[in-house]
């Protein structure tokens, strides 16, 4: 368990987390490995885990019927994958596929949610880390929607 705790605290997402809280979090953690092409989760599955990516890359994609999947984001070493576990109904809204061999730490969502309920200090430390990620991804998504590289002149 100690080794896992060290790995969890070493991940950029948990930078600066107090050792005590690190212990609490690691209690919900496990080591994972995904071969290239394997899915971490599928749209509609219960969102039971979030992932700290240690190595490799994960593509977030959506599959419109009759069309090839559209990859709209990739997360790499140092990033996290998964925010749906934070809000009811705790279901994944897209697919996540390992593009290459990917090693990650999976953190049990229910375990962590329960611990946050019991210890609001832990809860707040988690919120302080998640919110900037969510805000940044919202900004990035907005820039993506603008399709700035698309043809601007509808007349031509």
């Amino acid at each position: 368990m100690e080794g896992l705790e060290r790995i969890v605290l070493a991940h950029p997402f948990f930078a600066g987390l107090e050792a005590e809280l690190g212990q609490l979090v690691s209690g919900c953690a496990r080591n994972l490995r995904f071969d290239s092409g394997k899915y971490l989760f599928h749209e509609g599955d219960a969102a039971n885990e979030f992932y700290l990516i240690r190595q490799g890359s994960v593509a977030l994609e959506i599959l419109p019927p009759g069309q090839p999947a559209v990859v709209f984001a990739t997360e790499r070493e140092g990033d996290i994958v998964g925010t749906s576990w934070l809000v009811p109904p705790y279901r994944w809204r897209f697919d996540a596929r390992a593009v290459e061999l990917t090693r990650a730490i999976g953190i049990d969502a229910r375990c962590l949610r329960d611990k946050c309920e019991a210890d609001h200090h832990l809860g707040y430390e988690m919120m302080k880390r998640f919110l900037p990620v969510v805000v940044q991804r919202l900004d990035e998504a907005r820039l993506q929607i603008l399709d700035v590289y698309g043809k601007q002149d509808k007349r031509s």
Binding site: S57, A59, L60, E61, P68, A69, V70, V71, F72, A73, T74, R76, G78, R97, V99, E100, Q136, D139, E140, L143, Q144, L146, D147, V148, Y149, G150, K151, Q152, D153, S156
Partner: protein
């Protein structure tokens, strides 16, 4: 009166080579019909004229140190650019230039360099990249970040691979969306900034792409600790004369054709956010 003296009169150039880059982007190599092409600095542009159709401002995207030709990468977005993009080798063009301000590639010696290109913005940055790579020892860490719409829209594929093979350059490419056959990054280009290694107190950043992309990128660089007088953008506005006499390209108090197109971010940050300035 010799045509050489008058900046209103184009010189004739011949299209030597044409290369289709993507479905709507073409690169042309132009050689002067007589004499030598004037020297240019990375970041400058020429006004390219198609007989009887019109003129448009296109940045240089070739190597300033090379040969007697200009290289221009053009996207088909209108009557003139469409006509240019459809030219064949051997065709003749009119050309006025070079005009405008340059990337601070030379002055940035001694610094880490971050080059961020969006879409067609890689074309005006390529001459600066050539300069930096040709004098690599003068710079610290060098990072090239390039974002575009989809893998189909990536420019200068072969060159990017060559740069990628160098050990002394950090290069990351991302696309706004892709299908699963793409194994690279997907996401907007400012997101790549957190991945690269540079000393924010000693870095010069050069950004080129759609204005919104440049604004988001500048904000991300400021967030990473760069100061606003170390960030350079390449601005674009309606151009008719290209030489500061027709008034069209005004952006606040600046003429993009002579105070730009390369402009330092701290000088324009306040104007950039004014609606319809």
């Amino acid at each position: 009166m010799t045509t050489g003296m008058d900046p209103f009169i184009p010189h004739t150039y011949r299209v030597d080579r044409v290369r289709r880059e993507t479905r709507d982007v073409t690169t042309l190599e132009l050689a002067p019909m007589t004499g030598e092409r004037p020297a240019f600095q990375p970041g400058q542009f020429n006004m390219l004229y198609v007989f009887g159709i019109g003129e448009v401002a296109i940045s240089m995207s070739g190597d300033p140190a090379h040969a007697n030709s200009y290289v221009h990468t053009v996207r088909n977005v209108g009557a003139v650019s469409g006509a240019i993009a459809a030219l064949q080798a051997g065709a003749m063009l009119g050309l006025r230039g070079p005009f405008g301000t340059a990337w601070p590639a030379e002055a940035a010696a001694g610094n880490d360099i971050v080059i961020v290109a969006g879409g067609l913005g890689l074309a005006p940055l390529r001459p600066a990249i050539y300069h930096v790579l040709a004098h690599r020892e003068r710079y610290g860490r060098v990072a090239i970040l390039y974002g575009t719409r989809s893998p189909r829209d990536i420019l200068y594929h072969g060159e990017i691979e060559r740069w990628r093979r160098r050990l002394d350059v950090d290069i990351a490419v991302t696309v706004d969306h892709a299908d699963p056959t793409w194994h690279g990054n997907v996401g907007v280009v400012p997101k790549l900034i957190q991945r690269i290694d540079f000393d924010p107190r000693n870095t010069v950043a050069m950004i080129c792409g759609p204005e919104v992309m440049m604004r988001f990128t500048a904000t991300a660089l400021l967030g990473a600790g760069l100061s606003s007088d170390c960030i350079y953008l390449s601005m674009e506005r309606n151009m008719k004369c290209g030489i500061g006499l027709c008034g069209h390209c005004q952006f606040g108090p600046y003429f993009v054709c002579k105070d730009g197109p390369v402009m330092r971010y701290d000088r324009i940050a306040d104007i950039l956010v004014v609606r319809e300035i």
